[in-house]
């Protein structure tokens, strides 16, 4: 059963490129969103297995969205993976403080990496 993904990013190029690559690698991208509000609505409606959230959503903060997704509804609390064009070490303290299950640099994004992060949380 392929992992069902929701990708939240305010950059259209990235959404397109990420969707193409991840689908090639066997994931299912069930939806994309570029604002916090849109993302919360999609998550509620699509029930993805994992939500990828860009740390920067224009003027909005991906950390805030991750927190709200993690608080979620009783029925649905999808794991969040933060993504960014910044390397992890640049924002490590903020990532550690967030409820996200992990972080992936955008340049290192891959189905395998997502699978590994989610799989690890499932086990742990």
């Amino acid at each position: 059963m392929p992992i069902r993904l929701l990708i939240v990013d305010d950059n259209a190029h990235f959404l397109e490129a990420a969707r193409r690559l991840l689908e090639r690698q066997g994931m299912t991208v069930v939806g994309v969103a570029s604002t916090t509000l849109d993302a919360l609505r999609r998550a509620e409606e699509l029930r993805p297995d994992v939500t990828l959230v860009d740390i920067e959503l224009g003027h909005e903060s991906g950390f805030d969205l991750a927190r709200r997704l993690a608080e979620g509804t009783e029925a649905h609390r999808p794991p969040v993976i933060l993504i960014s064009a910044y390397p992890e070490q640049d924002l490590a303290d903020l990532i550690d403080a967030s409820p996200a299950v992990g972080f992936l640099a955008k340049s290192g994004l891959s189905g395998g990496a997502i699978f590994e992060l989610v799989g690890r949380t499932d086990k742990g």
């Binding site: 950059n11 990235f14 910044y86 390397p87 640049d90 903020l94 340049s107």
Partner: protein, 488 residues
């Protein structure tokens, strides 16, 4: 011209001068009486100049002239025949005594003027020193009103400032009685019969001898304070009328005619102090603007690089990797070429990240000072003991300044101090940020040498902070910085 009446004397000094004026010449006469036949009248008269000079020095012109008079009587009574009477028979004696009166009066007045001039010069020198060592304008204002009041026969003095809304405010005041002269609680309008009006209209010194029929608020306030005779001179700062120095008396006695001229010397100093303070404030503000503009540019360049170039490169990388997955298995060479290009692109992205981080650290704008300092500490080449109490977000310029200070200090500790550990304390509490960075290195850092310390001091000063450096050789270097959190 400096008259005796212009000298201010304390009450005790005044009494002493009068006592000396009366008793001094008499005592000199009585003291020399046993030698009358051997020394003669001329020697006595010469000696009598001594108490005249003394009285002039401590008491001013009136007691000095009195001493001359007492001297005259003493000489006539004791030393000029017929003795025991003020009459003088011998013509030679008469000429000598008259000469004494003329010379004594002239010497007395000369001494009074010279000593008044010396007092005034001393006062001006004190004020000039105060202004030159960059004392705050308020300090200079208070000192000017006090010096002017002490020197002139004024009961109160004030420094008034013309406000842009067409009123005057009182910025400093002094009173002879020692009573606190409060600054006006509010600004007062002018336009009636008051110094503020006359000087505003003419730009020249002015005088008011009664505020009884004052028709504007500033004049009414003067009347209420009991001011009678007042003299004011304009303070002109770089060609514009800034305010006035006012000397006033509460008695019927008019202020002497030379008051205007004497005040003028002081207004020049006030103007200089104001001009200095204004240029200093302008310089500080412009320096802060330059630094802020630099920071803003760096932040913007980092943003543009990140949002534009970096994001585009990352997306291209993903597209290349997607293309790579589509290459048929047998086209090994193409796959390798694509893979090489993807890797090269990855290196470029990393390179760009490195450059961006140097331009402006993302963690600072996204997480604030706390997380940014933690990141610095983690990345420091020398181990850092961190005590961090800075949870809330601060104005950006303060966050940036504090970040660069810690960053530079850590770099110095690693590069120059050969330290093995650095203690970094950061506290943002109440209205102040306190940074303390102490290392256990070789010390001997000299802020006057072309080190990064000068740049740090500039940074600290542009946000109105203070920096102390202790770096004796062998004891490590410690840097203490306090920055006020001005939220405006």
């Amino acid at each position: 011209m400096l008259g005796a009446s212009l000298r201010h004397r304390s009450a005790a000094r005044r009494v002493a001068a009068w006592v000396l004026a009366v008793a001094g010449p008499a005592l000199v006469g009585l003291g020399l009486l046993p030698f009358r036949s051997s020394i003669g009248l001329a020697a006595l008269l010469f000696t009598l100049l001594l108490p005249v000079v003394g009285v002039a020095l401590i008491g001013g012109a009136r007691p000095a002239l009195t001493a001359v008079g007492v001297g005259f009587v003493t000489a006539a009574f004791l030393f000029a025949p017929p003795y025991g009477s003020v009459r003088i028979h011998r013509q030679g004696d008469l000429v000598a005594v008259i000469a004494f009166v003329v010379v004594g009066a002239a010497v007395g007045i000369l001494v009074v003027n010279l000593s008044g001039l010396a007092d005034e010069q001393a006062a001006l020198r004190r004020l000039a020193t105060l202004a030159a060592r960059a004392a705050s304008p308020d300090e200079v204002f208070a000192a000017v009103t006090e010096e002017v009041g002490t020197l002139l026969p004024a009961d109160t003095t004030r420094l008034l400032r013309y406000e842009p809304d067409g009123t005057v405010s009182s910025v400093a005041g002094w009173s002879r009685s020692g009573a606190h002269i409060p600054p006006f609680g509010d600004r007062k309008g002018f336009g009636g019969k008051s110094l503020s009006t006359f000087i505003w209209q003419t730009g020249r010194p002015a005088r008011v001898d009664s505020y009884a029929d004052a028709s504007d608020p500033v004049g009414a306030a003067a009347h209420e304070e009991g001011l009678r005779s007042s003299v004011g001179t304009p303070v002109i700062v770089e060609g514009r009328l800034w305010g006035i120095v006012v000397a006033a008396s509460t008695s019927d006695r008019r202020l002497p005619r030379c008051t205007e001229a004497r005040l003028a010397a002081f207004t020049v100093l006030v103007a200089t102090a104001i001009a200095n303070a204004e240029s200093r404030a302008e310089l500080a503000a412009s320096r802060a603007r330059v630094v802020a503009a630099g920071d803003e540019t760096r932040r913007r360049i980092e943003r543009d690089l990140h949002d534009g170039t970096q994001q585009r490169l990352v997306s291209l990388g993903l597209e290349l990797r997607a293309a790579e997955t589509m290459v048929p298995a047998e086209l090994t060479e193409l796959r390798e070429q694509l893979s090489g290009a993807t890797k090269g692109l990855g290196d470029v992205v990393e390179n760009l990240q490195e450059i961006s981080r140097g331009i402006h650290p993302a963690i600072l704008s996204k997480g604030g000072l706390g997380p940014a300092i933690k990141t610095l500490a983690r990345r420091s080449a020398v181990p850092v003991q961190l005590d961090l109490r800075a949870e809330r977000r601060l104005p950006e310029r303060i966050e940036v300044a504090a970040y660069y200070i810690v960053s530079e200090a850590l770099t110095n500790a690693a590069k120059h101090a050969h330290a093995s550990v650095v203690h970094v304390d950061v506290k943002a509490q109440d209205a102040v940020v306190r940074l303390s960075i102490r290392d256990d290195g070789i010390g001997g850092a000299d802020p006057t040498q072309g080190s990064g310390l000068i740049g740090l001091r500039d940074r600290v000063e542009t946000v109105g902070g203070r920096m102390e450096i202790a770096s004796a050789a062998g004891t490590g270097t410690s840097l203490l910085v306090t920055i006020p959190i001005n939220l405006s």
